[in-house]
């Protein structure tokens, strides 16, 4: 993937392609959550193309890494990445949010190979990931468990139950990724339930924490290189909701709205640049 000139250029190219595919899926089906999907694209590309040890079918298998999209509403990005990675095919993608189709607007384990956990209700994924990580520890397996949460999701008390548990158990095979796009369903996180300082919260609960630019592949890949053994790791990804489309960025409207024809054309133009 890497070359000297532009170290992570290929990941950037993939990300643009994925964002276009997210835009197409959401526009075609008039689905919500394009903003939440676009903020998560870069971390998903890094995970599926650089970081995770997965087989080509995307099935976790006994020694493969596991991924849980705890912010399940961003699944359009996950599906697009899985399709690009060859885990799901074009037919499956075409069955997104379609009557009788293959994929819902939240990940469903029963619908699709490569989805390991059905999610959609916030605050579940980290506990499930902790259970998988505990199993891996007891069985002395080498796999890692990656869980992608949203910052708004941290409003859920159950997240903190899992945060305490993972630290107490020393689950250093568990990596929490927080897509901190600063916007939740009804507005800015800072206006609804103040989360700051996010990193210090996780750190004080016993996690090793890195706070990075969630759209900069150099920082993302470095963060994975700097995972600390002995305790669970959290990477706080500072992102923009709607990343890549100027008029969607940092605007809560795009938690809900799907682009009309004009917006779709404009967004495509920006993403194709």
């Amino acid at each position: 993937m890497k070359n000297k000139k532009n170290e992570y250029g290929e990941l950037g190219i993939l990300s643009r392609k994925i964002r276009l595919s997210v835009l197409d899926m959401i526009h075609r089906t008039k689905s919500p959550h394009i903003g939440s999907s676009l903020s998560a694209v870069d971390i998903l590309v890094a995970l599926y193309f650089e970081i995770m040890n997965i087989d080509p079918k995307g099935q976790c298998g006994k020694n493969k890494d596991r991924f849980i999209l705890s912010k399940g509403h961003a699944c359009a990005a996950l599906y697009a990445v899985m399709a690009e990675r060859g885990i799901i095919d074009a037919d499956t993608i075409n069955g997104f949010a379609r009557n009788g189709g293959a994929l819902e607007q939240h990940p469903n384990k029963h619908h699709c190979e490569g989805i390991e956990v059905s999610t959609g209700s916030l605050g579940h994924g980290l506990s499930i990931g902790a259970g998988m990580a505990l199993s891996g520890k007891v069985d002395r397996k080498a796999y890692k468990v990656y869980v992608l949460l949203s910052d708004g999701e941290m409003n859920e008390g159950s997240v903190w139950e899992a945060v305490m548990f993972a630290a107490h158990q020393g689950l250093d095979n568990l990596i929490a990724l927080v897509d901190a796009n600063k916007i939740q369903a009804m507005g800015c996180t800072k206006d609804i339930i103040g989360l700051d300082p996010i990193s210090e919260k996780w750190r004080s609960f016993g996690w090793h924490v890195q706070d990075i630019d969630g759209h900069d592949f150099r920082e993302i890949i470095n963060a994975f290189k700097n995972i600390m053994p002995g305790k669970p790791n959290a990477i706080i990804l500072n992102t923009s909701k709607g990343k890549g489309v100027s008029f969607m960025e940092n605007n809560v409207l795009w938690h809900y709205r799907s682009p009309d024809e004009v917006e779709y054309r404009d967004a495509r133009k920006e993403l194709a640049k």
Binding site: V117, S127, I128, A130, A133, F165, H168
Partner: protein
């Protein structure tokens, strides 16, 4: 009852290394032997029921056979969404073991009573629901649970619950147990109310009424065949349960009877849907809310 259940689990836990036992910080001394046998597979998760059920799902998704324990309202009500999505929807081998059925923890008050759990648990898609009547059945349920596929909710009654059986009964999940064969009148009951119904039946027999008693230890899947054949030969059917009279055993039997076109007399006996503010232990509350053998006897004999 919980000692009988986890006594059996302890034996199996020592033999099989796929079994995990989790508690949300309840069961003082209950798990000492399990913990000592293999501390890696036992975990006191802390006072965090939602996390316990989520962790159980993660373990089960990794091939483990998991038991979760705490008292009923904290397990079922607090963690219901985790049960519904993480365990039930994924159809995982997780056993949810709740203690304190009905009024068991009487003096502890409303927060500790198990009043609505059966209605909630039987509404799920994949979860089976078992309500042992006494410690011997709890031990049978423990044995049967280990190789049971999919989620299982086991509702345990009070510590020191009296024994219905003299020796280990023939116990199959999903198969109703006829405790006593009678005539004309059948009582379907579960949990603590099996023993109470037996005593009520003794009183009824003095009035020349000989009820059939059916122990419905499995609420789901419900043994509709047995219900159907009892309905054909009995013109009077009563249900008795230590649960909100709405949503539990009585409701489940009523659904079956109505759909089978039952023409006889039918009455549910259970905890009233709205409680007063009575203070008392389990026996006192059963008396206050009409679940003693005497009040069961009275309600049934008044119907004749």
């Amino acid at each position: 009852m919980r000692s009988a259940f986890f006594g059996e689990i302890e034996k199996i836990y020592k033999r099989r290394n796929d079994i995990f036992v989790l508690t949300a910080d309840l069961g003082y001394k209950l798990f000492d032997a399990i913990k000592n046998a293999s501390p890696e597979r036992f975990c006191n998760i802390g006072v965090a029921e939602q996390n316990m059920v989520g962790v159980a799902a993660g373990l089960a998704l990794s091939g483990k056979n998991v038991y979760c324990y705490t008292i009923i309202p904290f397990l079922v009500m607090r963690a219901y969404e985790q049960i519904r999505v993480d365990v039930d929807y994924h159809n995982l081998d997780v056993k949810l073991v709740g203690a304190g059925a009905g009024f068991s923890y009487g003096f502890e008050g409303i927060t500790h009573l198990g009043l609505e759990d059966l209605g909630m648990m039987r509404a799920l898609q994949n979860t089976s629901v078992v309500v042992p009547a006494d410690p011997l059945e709890a031990a049978c349920a423990a044995k049967a649970s280990v190789n049971y596929k999919g989620p299982l909710y086991i509702r345990l009654g009070q510590t020191g619950a009296p024994s219905v059986h003299e020796g280990p009964p023939a116990f199959d999940i999903g198969k109703a147990m006829v405790i006593k064969e009678g005539k004309g009148l059948a009582i379907f009951c579960n949990g603590s109310m099996v023993y109470a119904s037996k005593l009520a039946a003794d009183m009824l027999s003095k009035k020349g009424i000989s009820p059939t008693i059916v122990n419905m230890h499995t609420l789901k899947p419900l043994d509709t065949d047995t219900i159907g054949s009892i309905a054909e030969t009995h013109g009077n059917i009563f249900t008795v349960e230590e649960h909100n009279v709405n949503g539990g055993l009585g409701s489940a039997i009523a659904e079956v009877l109505l759909e089978k076109g039952y023409k006889g007399r039918f009455k549910r006996i259970g905890i009233p849907p709205k409680l007063g503010y009575e203070v008392g232990n389990a026996d006192h509350l059963r008396q206050a809310y009409g679940l003693t053998p005497e009040s069961i006897f009275k309600k049934i004999s008044e119907s004749f």
